[in-house]
């Protein structure tokens, strides 16, 4: 089943065109990694897909819900009520975690399911406890974010996103704010999610991880998709000059 479909996405900031005609589909259970140099537009693409940034042109569709449709090259957004529904389909894990510092770990995870989705309290609590156990943070339910390491905070933010029971998860450079040791623990969590066939789109600078965990790798540069395909092919045997040049530093 197709979860996400982006077609001909365009975005510019002032004079600067950051995304030029990007198309991308994600099917259920698929893990897609987006790699590329800083400023290549990969984070902007993620922000357009998660409705944090408005695209100028193109269309965006989740399952059968059209969030953005293209009218003569201009992006037209659906009504707020429909966009709210669309937001329920995905979760986003930020580079800087963005946990709510005044909430305990448990409240960070449970407030949105209770307040926004109006789910049953017992069920939400149970879901949250299960997720914390899965993240190895059962003893941290009552802790506050500042009492946790970066890696623990990022695991809480993954749990917070998963508690909404999204159809897919986006990760925006989830390990870029972490030291190598903590990076490992986050990558392990994402690997575990991949093993459970969680649908994910991951913007990352971890090349080996992208190769191992994903079904599909996209290399972006200058606001366009330069090359995409099978992870082993893209990362071990890139064909485009720009990709070869970028990956030479990793291989």
């Amino acid at each position: 089943m197709r979860i996400l479909e982006i077609e001909h996405c365009r975005k510019h900031f002032g004079e600067n065109e950051v995304l030029t005609d990007i198309s991308l589909t994600v099917d259920e259970g698929q893990v897609v990694s987006i790699i590329g140099p800083s400023g290549s537009g990969k984070s902007t693409l993620l922000r357009c897909a998660t409705l944090l940034e408005t695209m100028d042109g193109g269309s965006l569709k989740y399952l059968d819900k059209v969030a953005v449709r293209d009218e003569g090259g201009r992006a037209v957004y659906a009504l707020p009520a429909e966009l709210k529904q669309v937001r329920g389909y995905f979760g986003l894990v930020f580079q800087n975690f963005n946990l709510f510092p005044h909430y305990s770990v448990l409240k960070n995870i449970t407030e949105a399911p209770l307040l926004i989705q109006k789910r049953d309290k017992d069920e939400v609590m149970e879901t949250a406890r299960d997720l914390l156990a899965k993240m190895g943070l059962s003893d941290k339910a009552d802790a506050y974010p500042y009492q946790l390491s970066g890696g623990q905070q990022q695991r809480v933010s993954i749990a917070r996103a998963l508690a909404m029971k999204p159809r897919m998860l986006f990760f925006d450079e989830p390990t870029s704010a972490l030291d190598p040791e903590l990076t490992g623990e986050i990558l392990k969590v994402i690997r575990a999610l991949a093993a459970e066939h969680m649908t994910m789109v991951i913007v990352t600078h971890e090349m080996a991880f992208a190769r191992d965990v994903s079904d599909h790798v996209i290399f972006m540069d200058g606001g366009v998709i330069v090359e995409q395909g099978n992870p082993a092919d893209i990362i071990n045997n890139p064909t485009q000059d720009r990709t070869i040049q970028f990956l030479s530093r990793f291989n």
Partner: protein, 216 residues
């Protein structure tokens, strides 16, 4: 007149001093938040008017504003000010003035919030109002508490300005005694009263800061 008699007499005005203090806080704290939100409005007209309001109220003396509120209606409409309305005039002037100061404090606090907090709430489906009330405002309150404490301490001392309208709060009574007795003692007593009140304020505010110290 003995010192004790002076103290007793001046204490009779403390209720009025406290009335000015608490009523001003009661109205200016919410009003200040409203002014801050209008000041940050994307509507140019609204934000410009609010900016002018803040500029005038911070840029002119509170004493002048007291006189304007108290006697302005008389000169404008020929209305007379009844004694009973003195407190009303004082509270209006104080609340409008303090709201302007609080507004800038709120604005500083709101603008210092990282955009990631808004984005995280947005992605989770929080409405704008929910994001502000549940995520942003509680954190802003913690951030601005030290600046608010400063203003609250100033407010305690500013209540003495009510003597401009001959509203018989503690300081005005003291001033009257000082005149009739040709004594400086009432001013010393007034100073002691303000110092004690502000010690209580400082203590209460530091308790608030501690209460919000459970997170960083």
């Amino acid at each position: 007149m003995t010192i004790t008699a002076m103290i007793v007499k001046m204490s009779e005005g403390l209720g009025r001093t406290c009335a000015i203090f608490f009523l001003t806080l009661l109205f200016s704290l919410p009003l200040g938040l409203l002014v801050a939100l209008l000041r940050m409005s994307k509507n140019r007209v609204v934000s410009t008017i609010t900016k002018a309001y803040i500029s005038v109220l911070r840029g002119t003396p509170l004493m002048l504003q007291l006189i304007a509120v108290a006697y302005g209606p008389f000169y404008l409409f020929g209305a007379t000010l009844l004694v009973k309305q003195k407190l009303l005039a004082i509270i209006i002037a104080f609340a409008l003035n303090y709201a302007a100061y609080f507004a800038e404090i709120y604005r500083g606090g709101i603008e210092s919030m990282p955009v990631g907090q808004y984005e995280a709430a947005h992605v989770l489906g929080y409405s704008k109002a929910q994001t502000f009330m549940r995520i942003i405002l509680p954190q802003v309150v913690k951030r601005i508490l030290p600046s608010v404490t400063n203003e609250v301490i100033t407010l305690v001392k500013d209540t003495s300005m009510a003597f401009t309208l001959a509203y018989m709060e503690m300081f005005s009574i003291g001033k009257q005694i000082a005149n009739s007795q040709s004594s400086f003692t009432p001013f010393v007593i007034a100073g002691a009263f303000y110092y004690i009140m502000n010690s209580v304020v400082a203590f209460a505010m530091s308790r608030c800061e501690k209460a919000l110290g459970y997170y960083r």
